[in-house]
């Protein structure tokens, strides 16, 4: 579906038609429903969406993680550079190898990302020594090097602490140290700053990006904050109700969004709207991810909604160079403005 070719020969990540179904009492919750995307080496991809849009589950599935043991995951997640055709059907041994050396994850809440009963140093050392890394004195030196690298103050003494003696920011630095211990090719950061104080958020994000640049790591940055993502990402995928609704280079997405949901998100950004105008909110709330059809899932909240939208099966279509959208009304030239009728009812 996506026509743009990556710059390098081998992609880091190639996802095709990823679906994650989580059984529930009211039917299967489709947390990811036909997600396809690609990532180049060293690229930073933002994944944006509201809470419950499936971005977290989707990104964990990229690492071969299931939300629950009962969930079914289909589609393919390939790591072409590492000869992995599909991480979803990888035998446990090879999956562990991929986890240990090639990929890493930074979960949302640093308070729960570290084992409360093991010392900080021990937990970093485990990441260092896993997959045949250095142990003993060499391992300890590497642990210190990592903790210095992530800017943990006084690591020589703090590595004997337990996680509950650390602040949220220090914990997230430690989690980042664990993530980069094996110099992975891909880091999935699942809202890495959401649980932190505002002042700390910027520090952690800056740290993550400088490490990403130094190591040449691919980074998938999951966020519900479009302003954060737009500052740091090469490309942005906007997710709604388990699907990617628009995917484009960051600048393109910001300047000429081709999906009304993206446009609405941009309109809700404090910086994007002149000071004398009110921030726009998106009316309604996202749908439950159970029993949704092939038609547009944003239709009930959409200002461009037409009757034809209710019968038209959506798919990601090219609307420009390296730019895809699911909106029926999006064309390469433009996305229509809301009808005047809509404007009148407001005044």
């Amino acid at each position: 579906m996506t026509s743009h070719e990556p710059a390098t020969d081998t992609l880091l990540l190639d996802v095709h038609d990823l679906r994650v179904a989580i059984p529930s009492d009211s039917g299967d919750v489709m947390a990811a429903d036909g997600v396809s995307l690609q990532l180049r080496h060293g690229e930073v991809l933002g994944v944006v969406g509201e809470t419950g849009s499936g971005k977290s589950v989707t990104c964990r599935a990229l690492l071969g993680l299931r939300p629950t043991p009962q969930s079914t995951v289909s589609g393919t997640v390939a790591y072409p550079a590492h000869d992995v055709d599909d991480v979803l059907s990888l035998p446990p041994r090879r999956l562990r190898e991929l986890w240990g050396r090639r990929v890493a994850m930074i979960p949302q809440n640093p308070m729960t990302s570290l084992n409360p009963v093991r010392r900080i140093g021990e937990q970093v050392a485990e990441a260092v020594s896993a997959s045949g890394g250095p142990t003993g004195a060499a391992g300890a030196a590497r642990v210190l090097e990592l903790l210095h690298q992530v800017g943990l103050p006084a690591p020589e003494t703090r590595l004997r602490d337990y996680p509950h003696q650390f602040s949220g920011g220090m914990l997230q630095r430690t989690v980042i140290a664990i993530a980069i211990a094996q110099k992975p090719d891909l880091i999935v950061a699942d809202e890495p700053t959401t649980a932190l104080d505002v002042l700390i958020q910027d520090q952690i994000l800056a740290l993550l990006l400088s490490l990403q640049r130094d190591l040449g790591t691919g980074l998938i940055l999951v966020s519900h904050d479009l302003s954060v993502v737009s500052q740091v990402c090469d490309r942005v995928a906007v997710m709604y109700a388990g699907q990617i609704v628009e995917l484009a280079e960051t600048a393109t997405l910001l300047e000429s969004p081709r999906h009304p949901y993206t446009r609405a998100l941009l309109g809700a950004l404090p910086g994007a709207v002149p000071r004398d105008q009110e921030l726009r909110v998106i009316p309604g709330s996202p749908p439950q991810l159970v029993g949704l059809g092939p038609t547009c899932r944003f239709a009930p909240r959409c200002e461009l909604h037409e009757q034809a939208c209710d019968t038209w099966p959506t798919s990601l279509r090219d609307v420009g160079p390296a730019h895809t959208s699911r909106c029926r009304r999006a064309t390469a030239a433009s996305l229509p403005s809301p009808t005047p009728r809509h404007q009148e009812t407001q005044s």
């Binding site: 240990g100 990302s113 570290l114 084992n115 409360p116 937990q123 896993a130 094996q182």
Partner: protein, 317 residues
């Protein structure tokens, strides 16, 4: 550090009123139930005059409060008086009998750990699998079956049919003691383990879903090491609490089981003493068992604190 130490000392200080209450209740209950030590001692030779003489010599003719005070005073100095039945100091009897009971409880604890830790973790990892289903059924059974019935079934099968283990008594020498205690300890451990297995299963499931387990998995370390290093130690804390709560149940069980298997422990001493109205022995054994329960509860607290650094370093979170 200071606050946690204070916390522990305040727990120890709490023991005093608890133990005081237990002595009071056991003392009063004994005197409320019908029956007369003098009658038990005299048996066929009973005459009202002889009985009155015995009561006077045992101090049973004095007011209740006075008797209680004498008992407390004695207990404080480690003297529990003399058994009416055995004509020996109660302290000596306790020393004779405590070893067997402690060994029984210790062996039971080992069996409990050996049964419930692997089963609980297995049931959690393979949810809905054979072990999970089987322990669910056993949980109901183990809870419903009284200890003496489990004991009698074990005696029948392993003692009489298969002849693998002695069916009663205590033997001579430590090894023989252990051999004699296998069936009684299993009798206690099987129902007790069902509770522990289910509680370990549920706490393990909670821990398995924690982010730190995912972070650990992504380090590429084998699943077995994840279970041992990251899951077990976090999952076992809540089980220690369940263990402490159910400990009184275990001690009550030893009383029954020692009688079923004729083990010369505190439990069988207690049952014998109750039926002969051997007041000093009953009071002393009740006190010892109470101290034991309270101490083990305190010990589980300490162990819980050692397992979880958040509890031992103080209130800072």
């Amino acid at each position: 550090m200071g606050s946690s130490v204070n916390l522990r000392w305040s727990r120890v200080a709490n023991l005093v009123p608890v133990l005081f209450g237990i002595t009071l209740v056991s003392f009063l209950l004994l005197r409320l139930v019908p029956g007369d030590p003098a009658q038990q001692i005299l048996g066929n030779r009973y005459t009202p005059e002889a009985a009155a003489g015995i009561r006077r010599s045992l101090g049973l003719d004095q007011p209740l409060l006075q008797q209680y005070w004498l008992f407390i005073k004695g207990a404080m100095t480690g003297s529990f008086g003399e058994s009416y039945q055995y004509h020996r100091p109660v302290g000596e009897l306790l020393l004779d009998r405590t070893g067997a009971s402690l060994m029984l409880v210790g062996l039971t604890a080992i069996f409990c750990a050996a049964l419930s830790i692997p089963l609980g973790i297995w049931a959690a990892v393979r949810r809905g699998g054979l072990v999970d289903q089987a322990t669910r059924v056993l949980f109901t059974l183990g809870f419903a079956l009284p200890a003496f019935l489990v004991g009698i079934v074990l005696i029948l099968v392993f003692g009489l049919k298969l002849g693998w283990a002695p069916i009663g008594g205590y033997g001579n020498g430590v090894l023989s003691h252990v051999g004699h205690l296998v069936l009684p300890a299993l009798t206690l451990a099987i129902p007790f383990s069902t509770v522990l297995v289910r509680s370990l299963r549920s706490s393990t499931i909670t821990v398995l879903e924690a982010d730190f387990v995912t972070v650990a998995r992504l380090k590429g370390i084998p699943e077995s090491r994840i279970l041992v290093r990251h899951v077990l130690r976090n999952a076992i804390g809540p089980v220690a609490v369940v263990f402490g709560i159910n400990l009184a149940f275990l001690v009550g069980g030893t009383v029954v089981v020692e009688n079923v298997f004729s083990i010369p422990g505190l439990g069988s001493l207690l049952v014998g003493a109750v039926s002969t109205r051997d007041y000093p022995v009953v009071q002393a054994v009740a006190l010892v068992l109470a101290v034991f329960v309270v101490l083990v509860n305190l010990l589980t607290d300490v162990v819980h604190g050692l397992l979880d650094p958040r509890l031992s370093v103080g209130v800072q979170r």
